[in-house]
């Protein structure tokens, strides 16, 4: 795919804009690489991050979790795989951290085949490492993955144990102490999902939130790609929405601020999203620059063509 548009036989004879227009796209790739790697190295060395001002949708996520009384049950669906972890892992980490700090009882499920492994890692990094007092089965449980996408959601609506017959340790659902009394999805006052696509937040709204006779509150974190599609549901069906790494950074800064202890710096693993906003800034500027240059070429060519 490289040499196809790399043609410089009579490059000198062409006006500047033609040459620029036919520039090998690998130069653009290189620019993008520099725009992202530069800030990563700089932030990695200096440890500085940019300030975040949380928007309404992100504040709503924080408040929704914050207002739940301690020991409430929350259903957390990890609907992404490592391919999207760059965007979504910081969200999952912060969401679990806030829930753990609030002493909510967390039930993890996954509708993506690799989601179970992601949930497992998140549990390890946040709960086991930093909240070792929380006990599996009493305070949190990972129910693993189930195939079937929407049909699993449909089953969750009426029978939780049928949808997820065992947890990832092999314990039958009916023997798990914290799930005593959980019959169906609506027994959870709050549903939290982190979603990378299909099945994800949209399907949760369609198959669970809308179909539930009882009102279930729903907050979600999603990739930048799916965020625009979820805005029509906000704030009626989706109470709080974290869109892309920016949403993650906003929410992360809120959670960090709420859990900050004087004199103790926040653990660096809880600053992941905010660190990634640095490369984001430079890369966005590069994108804007590229679009502007592309259009300058376009108009220069148009003028030449018209003259």
């Amino acid at each position: 795919m490289s040499a196809a548009n790399f043609n410089n036989t009579n490059a000198a004879a062409r006006p500047w804009f033609e040459r620029l227009d036919r520039i090998d796209r690998r130069w653009i790739f290189l620019l993008m690489f520099l725009a992202v790697s530069g800030p990563i190295l700089w932030i990695g060395v200096t440890g500085k991050t940019l300030p975040e001002a949380p928007t309404l949708a992100a504040r709503a996520v924080f408040q929704e979790i914050d207002q739940l009384p301690a020991r409430s049950l929350v259903l957390i669906s990890i609907d992404f795989d490592p391919a999207s972890a760059g965007e979504l892992q910081p969200m999952a980490t912060s969401l679990v951290r806030q829930c753990a700090a609030k002493n909510l009882r967390m039930v993890f499920i996954a509708l993506w085949p690799l989601g179970n492994q992601v949930a497992q890692q998140t549990i390890q990094n946040v709960i086991r490492d930093d909240y070792p007092a929380l006990k599996e089965g009493d305070d949190f449980v990972n129910m693993g993955y189930q195939a079937g996408n929407e049909a699993v959601m449909k089953l969750l609506l009426t029978d939780f144990a049928k949808a997820f017959p065992k947890d990832s340790r092999g314990e039958a659902t009916s023997n798990i102490p914290m799930l005593k009394g959980v019959k169906m999805a609506s027994n959870f006052p709050l549903l939290i999902t982190v979603s990378a696509g299909y099945p994800g937040s949209k399907e949760w709204v369609q198959y669970v939130i809308s179909a539930c006779n009882e009102k279930m509150n729903f907050v979600t974190g999603c990739t930048g790609v799916s965020a625009p599609q979820l805005y029509p549901y906000f704030p009626q069906q989706i109470v709080g929405l974290l869109g892309a790494i920016k949403g993650a950074a906003e929410y992360e800064s809120m959670v960090n601020a709420s859990l900050a202890v004087d004199g103790v710096a926040t653990a660096p693993k809880y600053l992941q999203a905010q660190r990634r906003m640095g490369p984001q800034l430079v890369a966005h500027l590069l994108m804007v620059g590229l679009i502007i240059v592309g259009n300058v070429i376009f108009f220069a060519r148009k003028r030449r063509g018209a003259a």
Partner: protein, 380 residues
């Protein structure tokens, strides 16, 4: 464009009987249950919420009552959290815990109503859409021509296939990355049928890599049928329709790799796409292929719109598939959908007017009743 699909003018074809019968069956099944509940639904539209709670309590004592308490507590989010959510909090008073409550449920099986009243509006909507589609399909089958507005991307399909033949290169058709249960995939395969037929006529080779094994089977059937109907059954080769892998990026890596190696002259992307839309269309751009895309995934449309030569946006994709198939069933469905859209548009307009008048003159009882009615129609 005007489709003159001439079916012999027989009003009640076999097909139409079948669909009417099925529809009536469905309607009858439900109206029995529905008749019991309709009076309740009407009274509900007048009565405040609390009455429903009591009404249901009568029939389903413990279960429903519990559920309503839970629901109301969650609803009352603005009130001080500590009190309202009390039943959700773990032990203080054992009797009030959800565990205790639901432990009592299995024994006392509640008497269930025949029809879920809260879904009345939803049910009526589905009946309405079903009726609109059935009637439109029936009309279309009875020979009434259906006009479809011009769709630019469609007119480009034949040219694009012709170009590939002239250049002596292959055509790539990607039917999305979802399974046969996704309607976009089905629409994509309808498009494939047409593209393959044109390709068979022009004697161009067509490559179809698929992401699901079921899609591969269906695509093979479709292409085989197209080659047959073009009278070139010998030209069909099942090996060009391959299954790669279920994994999104495994699939993308393979398709993009083969695109760079084989340099197809024309690429079609018709179906359900996610992140791979841009990888495909950028790679297609780099190898200088003509690209025509169609998807209903709105997140991927910007890339197709920007990078492809022609794009079928959202529903346009379904419309194009219906048009290309030339089947009265599909064209009738399109008309049925338009009727639905028109109804939604009118409802929104009425609702907005009512809401506006209500905002200006809050005391207007008639308008507030209208607004309430509209909200009910939409299940709000």
């Amino acid at each position: 464009m005007r489709i003159t699909h001439k079916v012999p003018r027989r009003i009640f074809t076999n097909q139409s009987w079948k669909c009417i019968a099925t529809f009536l069956c469905m309607a009858m099944c439900c109206t029995r249950a529905f008749a019991f509940e309709i009076s309740g639904a009407i009274s509900e539209s007048v009565a405040p919420v609390t009455q429903i709670v009591t009404a249901q309590n009568a029939s389903a004592p413990e279960h429903v009552a519990t559920q309503n308490i839970l629901a109301k507590n969650v609803l009352a989010r603005n009130a001080p959290a500590q009190d309202t959510n009390a039943p959700l909090v773990e032990p203080v008073n054992a009797a009030a815990t959800p565990a205790a409550i639901s432990a009592a449920i299995p024994d006392a099986t509640p008497v269930r109503p025949l029809f879920n009243r809260e879904k009345t509006a939803l049910f009526l909507w589905i009946v309405f859409i079903g009726a609109a589609v059935t009637v439109s399909v029936w009309l279309a089958k009875s020979g009434r021509p259906i006009k479809i507005r011009r769709i630019a991307a469609l007119e480009a399909v034949d040219n694009a296939v012709g170009r590939a033949t002239e250049m002596g290169r292959s055509i790539l058709f990607v039917p999305g990355i979802q399974d046969m249960d996704n309607i976009q995939t089905v629409a994509g395969l309808t498009m494939l049928g047409r593209v393959a037929k044109t390709a068979a006529e022009y004697d161009a080779t067509i490559q179809v890599p698929t992401c699901r094994s079921l899609v591969m089977e269906a695509a093979r059937d479709t292409v085989r049928a197209s080659y047959l109907s073009a009278g070139r059954a010998d030209g069909f080769s099942a090996d060009r329709i391959t299954y790669i892998t279920d994994d999104q990026f495994g699939y993308v890596a393979n398709v993009v790799g083969s695109m760079v190696r084989e340099k197809p002259a024309t690429c079609f992307y018709m179906g359900c796409f996610y992140a791979e839309s841009l990888i495909f269309s950028e790679t297609g751009n780099a190898i200088g292929a003509i690209q025509i895309a169609g998807t209903a995934e709105s997140s991927q449309l910007p890339f197709f719109v920007a990078a492809c030569d022609y794009t079928l946006i959202g529903e346009e994709f379904f419309a194009a598939s219906a048009y290309l198939s030339g089947e009265p069933a599909q064209l009738g469905t399109l008309r049925g959908q338009d009727i639905g859209k028109f109804a939604v548009g009118v409802l929104i307009t009425l609702g907005v007017l009512a809401a506006t008048i209500l905002a200006v003159a809050p005391s207007s009882a008639v308008i507030s009743a209208l607004l309430y009615g509209l909200q009910k129609v939409l299940g709000g």
